[in-house]
Symmetry: C2
DNA sequence: TTGAAAGCGCTAACAT
DNA sequence: ATGTTAGCGCTTTCAA
């Protein structure tokens, strides 16, 4: 039936020499259906003869045949891909999550597709929309997004796990560190170091659960210790380096000198705060006691010593992945995990 | 012709309520062809009447129609996606490249798909194969892969730009920092600090151009300065943290004490070297002069001061992207760019 | 100015 | 035990 007409579609580029299932079928003298069945390991179920199976596999190998994933996705409506949305690739916390997730995905035959929103809410929506349009099989979202109907909606139609933040008042699955307890312990140890005139707080986006819980820890610890919380040295903004700079700057302006002690609610904020101190005081770094959420290998060598909270990224990632896996295979229970974090005393 | 038969394909999952072009066509009372033409902005070219165009656009908007990218890819043989292959997400150098690349891709209507090989050659091949199978429109490869026919082959059939390393003896496009000159300058400044008994070198995979050039710089500077190069304190291995630890350990064993001065050929190696020093000497860090390829924000606060080479990631990324863009639009000229890097004196 | 239909490569229901 | 065929959603040629 003259399947060779090239009158249509000659405009497409495609891979130059990619062999299709049809080429295999022709060479093995069977139909494409049989090839598909055999190559997908369903040969037994369909009782394809051993001989035929061998022949097909041989031909496929000889031709170096690889099924076209795009066609497969279109037909199947799934892609063996998991989308991972983060705020910022340069944030080592996210990078570490991504590293573990990628390993897990690979082990389970998935591809991890990472996209960073650059902390831009609209961009983030676009990324997620794109992921969904491309039929990712699941979503892991670690984001600085505000509470949103959009996200709840997505989560209700595509298996989704949130990491690092909780969505208020919805029935989404999430995995986070034990922000409140770990921050509390860190701040407790910070103020135990010596007597401070004040302890400043530099936080991220006010509406994010991670910030809320870390701030709550800060307020409660100070209260317990009988230290007054001065709102003017409590700064929130965004979980970015720039916001950290601005916050530190504000605090210094506010009290007319560097604070005695400060807690930064993320690594990025710490980086910003330090940069601002350096900008203002250069080499003559003031004597500030610092504690921060998130850890970094180089903190072991930084002066002054910076106490930190090390989140258990492998555990967070594994939990998220395992929840997602169960959702993708149909479970609809509400799964939430709170992972402990470790204080690195310095 | 009873298009509504659902006898076949009822097994697929797909998105629950995704509207297809056909729904739009039906509602707008035109054919799918017309919808496609109009929505792709070819209405004028095909002289579709203004009225029809409006009607179609209205319906599409009302139905919230989004063309299915998978179907589109299958038909067109392209995906508006660029694959970015790196060794390690946790390496800030790659993360920074990725950040800029993602911005550029977004601005040009592409999606960046990042995948990390974890420094595993086989894994990397698999990733690239996967990318190609999925019809990425272009590849940017920043990898610790050895010279390989596989890569040359890929590069000859898919627009590909290598970053951070050159492929020996092939006609591939690449973008790298000026490894030789910048490393030379850094090492020069390192040995100018004071008189050293020895200056050790901790490098990455011996066959990678980045390592070769940085090592060459080391040898030449020492020679120029009349300092003998002792092979036993020149360690190569891999661009990883673990390799850095091992190398530092070897050097210490070799000379029976920590070296006076050391140059690490990447941030990851520095991290490893520092960790090993810490493991062995704890808080009583020996007085070592250190310089490293790659910079990090926290290095500003690390003691002892660590001189570094800051690669121009935005420039590298932009160059790679621009070369790739030109290749994707048909250019086949051999484009190569060497970007200057900056020394951060500390 | 628009529509019909082929076909991208694959899978699965159904027929044989 | 294997083949035929519809159809995933889209674009484009050709016809009208």
């Amino acid at each position: 039936m003259g399947k060779s007409t090239r009158s249509h579609s000659q405009t497409r580029r495609g891979a130059p020499e990619s062999i299709s299932i049809e080429a295999v079928a022709r060479k093995a003298k069977v139909s494409t259906a049989t090839v598909s069945i055999v190559l997908n390991g369903k040969g037994e179920r369909y009782r394809i003869s051993k001989a035929t199976q061998e022949r097909i596999k041989d031909v496929a190998k000889k031709l170096n045949y690889e099924p076209n994933p795009v066609a497969r996705s279109l037909r199947l409506g799934r892609t063996q891909t998991i989308g991972f949305v983060i705020a910022d690739l340069a944030n080592p916390f996210f990078a570490e999550l991504a590293t573990t997730l990628e390993r897990l995905c690979h082990e389970h035959g998935y591809l991890l597709q990472i996209s960073a929103s650059g902390d831009d809410v609209a961009m983030e929506e676009e990324i997620i929309r794109n992921f969904v349009a491309k039929s990712v099989d699941g979503l892991i979202i670690a984001t600085s997004h505000e509470e949103s109907d959009f996200l709840s909606d997505i989560a209700s139609r595509t298996p989704t796990v949130f990491v690092d933040r909780k969505i208020k008042g919805s029935n989404c699955c999430w995995v986070t560190s034990d922000n409140y307890e770990s921050a509390k312990e860190a701040i407790r140890r910070l103020i135990d170091k010596r007597e401070f005139r004040e302890v400043a707080y530099i936080g991220g986006a006010p509406s994010l659960s991670s910030n809320i819980e870390r701030l709550q820890a800060y307020e409660n610890v100070l209260e317990e210790a009988g230290v007054p919380v001065a709102r003017r040295i409590v700064k929130e903004g965004a979980f970015t380096c720039d916001a950290g700079k601005a916050a530190m700057s504000d605090i210094i302006e506010e009290i007319g000198r560097p604070p005695d002690a400060v807690f930064t609610a993320s690594y990025t904020l710490l980086e910003g705060a330090l940069a601002e101190l350096k900008r203002r005081y250069g080499a003559a770094q003031p004597d500030i006691a610092i504690a921060t959420y998130d850890d970094h290998p180089l903190l072991d060598y930084v002066a002054p010593p910076i106490l930190s909270v090390r989140q258990d990224c492998p555990l967070l990632a594994e939990s998220a992945f395992s929840i997602l896996t169960s959702m993708m295979s149909g479970s609809s229970g509400l799964q939430r995990i709170i992972a402990p974090a470790r204080i690195i005393q310095r």
